[in-house]
Symmetry: C2
Subunit: 220 residues, 2 copies
DNA sequence: TAATAAATTTAGACTAATCTAAAAATTTTT
DNA sequence: AAAAATTTTTAGATTAGTCTAAATTTATTA
């Protein structure tokens, strides 16, 4: 069965919507994520349902079938492996790789991904700290908390970001924060959720509540 | 101006047809190369002409304009750079990489190709010995002859293949012949154009006329 | 619970890329 | 140069993916 690039992108969108809290993705949510009209979504959802990649109850949203989920997971795997390649081997910055990986992920060759995985040393997390599913679709897990959950005096290692928008990543670069940064919480200011932290045992900086809620740390 | 993957593939086909002897590509030649109907070619050629990528005189074939040629050249550059990556870094065999490179070549990012080029050490020839145009579209040249042009007693280094079909490349692998093989012509048999050669100063083997005509050597 | 607002689907149309079958043009052969 | 063969184009249809506008369904609110 042939699956087009567009169909793949819809599967990925449905995957990312249903991944979180919501068990099914609404037409609107999908159209928003895909930057397209609701009518187009209805058309496409019907096509995907005919191919048994999603289950769709009229006016009740869609969710992925097993095979739909499998395809979406492999797209995530490819995307994240290519991001590792772009950052580690071609020296792109972590905020520059998304669009290119978005293209590369559609190249369907298991052999290619197998070899790329080995070439990169079988990484378990991508440059944003997101887990890379293995060839069977299993995601690695890691004990992680958001920065705002740390108490004063606690230490942590930055292992990921909640949000991976370019402005946010650029801002982190400016602050000197990145994957692998060491953080110690010095003070927490409850009234606006900001915090003063010690970065890499050297600089004291103050970061806003928004940043605190978007950074994943591994406690140390 | 947006150019689709399909349009790009037509440009590449026209490029490869007009590269050789013929100054213009016929509808039939294109349809044969693209494995499609002549009617589709006519349609597509009209589209490409409207975009000023080709020049088309009815019943007299097409040829690329300057901008059409530029796009085709960049496709060749991307294709060949990715082939180097697949063979040198991911350890694919040189006869396994064509289809994957065929996909990778459509990813349009100058930044990506610049970085890949550097990562690979700015190679001038791909794993089949074909020249890789630089970012300005200039092809490297090399003093090369086909094996059948060598006289008895002459030495050469295998630097390329005329034909890059999978069966031919597989056959070369079987013979132990590849890029970089050293060859000395021991005897030439005029009646069927076959030859006995000394391979890598070790093995004497006899190769057919067909192989002799498809191997490019650099004289030594 | 009826009215209003929001979400979703249907209807109908458009573009790009493709096809088959038939017509027209060109080239080759006799 | 006329007939035959080949090549190319036209005509009309098809599929995937998209759109806008209108109709319908569901959810919210007064």
């Amino acid at each position: 069965m042939k699956i087009s690039k567009t169909e793949e992108n819809y599967l990925k969108a449905i995957f990312s919507i249903t991944e979180k809290d919501t068990p099914s993705a609404s037409t609107n949510a999908i159209s928003h994520k895909m930057q397209t009209s609701a009518a187009s979504v209805t058309d496409m959802v019907k096509r995907l349902a005919k191919k048994k990649l999603v289950i769709h109850e009229s006016h009740k949203g869609v969710h992925l079938t097993k095979s739909g989920n499998q395809i979406a997971t492999m797209l995530v795997r490819r995307h994240r492996l290519w991001e590792v390649f772009l950052v580690e081997k071609l020296n792109f910055l972590w905020d520059e790789v998304h669009e290119i990986a978005e293209e590369l992920e559609h190249i369907k060759s298991d052999e290619l991904m197998e070899r790329l995985d080995n070439f990169l040393g079988n990484p378990k997390f991508d440059p944003h700290g997101d887990p890379i599913p293995d060839a069977e679709g299993i995601f690695a897990t890691r004990q992680q908390v958001v920065l705002s959950e740390l108490e004063e005096g606690e230490n942590g290692l930055v292992v990921g970001v909640q949000e991976s928008s370019t402005p946010f990543l650029k801002y982190l670069n400016q602050l000197g924060l990145g994957l692998g940064s060491e953080v110690k919480v010095l003070e927490k200011y409850d009234y606006d959720n900001s915090a003063k932290i010690l970065l890499n045992k050297k600089n004291e900086i103050v970061i806003t509540g928004k940043v605190c809620q978007n950074l994943f740390l591994q406690k140390k």
